[in-house]
Amino acid sequence: MEELILELKKEIIEVLNLEEMTPADIDENAPLFGEGLGLDSIDALELIVLMEKNYGIKLANANEGKEIFQSIKCMADYIAAHRTK
């Protein structure tokens, strides 16, 4: 799981262009939206693409992401349980 969390942090930094951040700066339990990383609705859509592209998980609508994208830890748990690649 630790490996997956680190991999996710790196992917999110790259995909969301969090240029001035390193994996160590991201708390896997902190909220991704609002406070915490301060991501917005376009970032949420991009996370949906990331899930499909890298892990073969397809979310039908953006609302499903609300639960999954609470934190990096939540994302990692969901991916571990549902990944197809």
Partner: protein, 594 residues
């Protein structure tokens, strides 16, 4: 005020306004279900113009040149030809200006060139082909302001006629659909999997559509008003200064636009509001907020998206034409697709076509980049014709109080070279500038290069005191390549082999997003607008800035040329004030500092 002479609509429902109006009266809807359209894996409901029918219509009017035009150009020409003929205007007259409203033009050529030359996807190329077809000698204006383009183009027409000496404006709005456009909206989860339901409690997204529409406007001096006519009385653009894709939850920009457009107008004249009504949850709620705040909750409202879908650059023109004809017929159209109205604020959605004796309507549009527009259209009796010219004299003295020039290797602010490119660095040129000026705005890294370049230039020419209110400031950008730099990046995400449409790239595939980013960063709520021309031209730049100042509420404009394409940066951004301190805004002075 400007006078409508004629109009046309080309859509799947018909090739004239009359055919379209009759189809709408019969309740017809253009949207159909498609699987595998353009090779897109997800199914969708869209309203498509049959290319065979378009070709046949075009061949009937233009025998030899059939293969020389794209589908987009053909529908523009078919639509404009009908309207120009009905107006009885000689389109080759130099007093006629063509204005094209489009968001993506020939962008489908990035996927399949079909023997069309490189560069044909430039919006100014399509506009020139259309205006030259009619022998018009003037360089056409392209308005590319995302979904509000069609209304913004009509505001531009009003200024061309009232301020720039033109007597006739041919406003053409058009867009066609492609893998590029549909996949982008799908990546935003914005498309409904059924026919759309504007303002409905169960609405869940929009349907896209193809169309072209034209309005020929005239200056009152030449309109020969002998009978009742339709006029565009006023119009304005405002920015939410909030988010580049999400509508303001408070309807801020649209509310401000409505207030400015209706300024002093007796709203009891309003027969209806022709809403944007896309059928996305957020847009329709936002419109309900703006209407409530403007005190218009009880005015009947309809959306035409249920009939035509969202026709993007055509929609502002097409929906204005349909609403003009409803007004002339004394009718309020039905909001097709709405079954159980349900928005965050009450909206008086018109559920059945009915009669009205109202004499005016308000057309609303909102779009990406935080942009909003409203225009006021009135049915005037020949007996009460007063030439109501709300625009001010645009010859007032305007001054350039600061300017920023960015080329491929230097940044000059107010004549001083403040950054020189380190060619040995592996940091990109725009990131070098960002770091050099000490800006801390992490969102910068998420932007496309066009927005980065505009944002950096705006940052450097802001006054030292950043916290002065900017409610009455505007942002106006001209360029050549529109968002083509980012368009190509997006195209790479939708190849057949590696199809993962990227929403964060798609959102920047609109040239006006740079104006939105500047507006958000500096809390600028006034007009934000984007125009496309073939070349930098100091005369056009001065003219468009002056025209924008013809709105008496505008005090300051951040305006200029912001071009970024294929690693080449060419920016001249000005901070222009309505006063006489600083360099006078003239074409010669602009040329000197370019």
């Amino acid at each position: 005020m400007i006078v409508r002479l004629s109009d046309n609509i080309v859509s799947p429902l018909g090739f004239t306004t009359e055919e379209n109006y009759s189809a709408v009266e019969r309740g017809e809807r253009g949207g159909k279900y498609y699987e595998g359209l353009f090779g897109i894996p997800e199914p969708c409901y869209v309203s498509l113009l049959d290319p065979v029918v378009v070709d046949s219509r075009f061949s009937a009017m233009c025998h030899s040149a059939h293969e020389r035009y794209t589908k987009l150009e053909k529908i523009c020409i078919i639509s404009a030809a009908d309207a120009i003929t009905k107006a009885g205007v000689d389109a080759s007259d130099k007093r006629v200006i063509f204005i094209l409203s489009t968001t993506k033009g020939n962008i489908d050529l990035l996927d399949n060139r079909n023997d069309f030359e490189n560069g044909r996807e430039n919006l100014w190329v399509s506009a020139q082909l259309v205006s030259r077809y009619f022998g018009n000698p003037n360089e056409p204006v392209v308005v590319s302001n995302a979904c509000i383009s069609g209304c913004a183009a009509q505001v531009a027409a009003m200024r061309c006629l009232q301020c720039d000496g033109y007597k006739y404006a041919v406003v053409v709005g058009a867009d066609v659909l492609s893998k590029f456009v549909i996949s982008g909206f799908q990546s935003f989860k914005a498309l409904s999997q059924q026919l759309c339901k504007p303002f409905d409690k169960d609405r869940n997204g929009l349907n896209l559509g193809e169309a072209a529409a034209t309005i020929v406007y005239a200056h009152p001096d030449v309109a020969r008003i002998s009978q009742d006519c339709i006029v565009m009385r006023s119009g304005s653009l405002s920015n939410d200064a909030n988010h580049i894709s999400g509508p303001s939850r408070t309807g801020e920009g649209l509310y401000r636009s409505i207030c400015r457009t209706l300024d002093g107008y007796d709203v009891s004249n309003l027969a209806f509001v022709s809403a944007h009504g896309t059928s996305t949850p957020y847009n329709d709620d936002m419109e309900s907020m703006a209407l409530m705040r403007a005190g218009l909750s009880e005015i009947p409202v309809f959306s035409l998206k249920g009939h035509f879908g969202h026709t993007l650059g055509a929609s502002g023109v097409l929906e204005t034409v349909m609403s003009m004809h409803a007004l002339m017929n004394g009718c309020i159209l039905k909001s097709e697709g709405t079954e159980n109205p349900g928005t965050v604020q009450h909206v008086n959605v018109n559920m059945q076509m009915r009669k009205t004796d109202g004499r005016a309507f308000l057309k609303l549009m909102s779009g990406f980049g935080g942009s909003n527009a409203s225009i006021l259209i009135e049915h005037k009796k020949s007996t009460d014709f007063d030439v109501d010219n709300r625009l001010n004299d645009n010859k007032v003295r305007l001054s350039i109080q600061s300017y920023c020039r960015i080329t491929d290797d230097t940044v000059i602010v107010g004549g001083q070279n403040i950054v020189t490119r380190d060619l040995s660095s592996d940091v990109t040129w725009l990131s070098q500038i960002y770091k050099s000026i000490g800006l801390h705005y992490p969102k910068f890294y998420k932007m496309d290069n066009l927005s980065k370049a505009g944002l950096l230039a705006a940052e450097m020419l802001m006054p030292e005191s950043q916290d002065i209110p900017k409610d009455d400031w505007s942002v106006v950008v001209l360029n050549r390549s529109s968002s083509l730099d980012d368009d190509k990046a997006y195209q790479e995400t939708i190849s057949a082999e590696n199809y993962y449409p990227a929403p964060s790239i798609f959102v920047y595939t609109l040239a006006n997003i740079v104006t939105g980013e500047i507006s958000i960063r500096h809390k600028i709520f006034g007009e934000s607008a984007c125009y496309i021309f073939e070349h930098f031209d100091e005369t056009k730049l001065e003219q468009i800035i002056r025209d924008t100042f013809s709105d008496s509420q505008v005090r300051v404009i951040i305006g200029g040329w912001v071009e970024y394409y294929d690693d080449h940066c060419d920016v001249l951004l000005l901070r222009v004030h309505r006063d006489d301190v600083g360099i006078e805004l003239t074409k010669d002075n602009i040329k000197k500092i370019y």
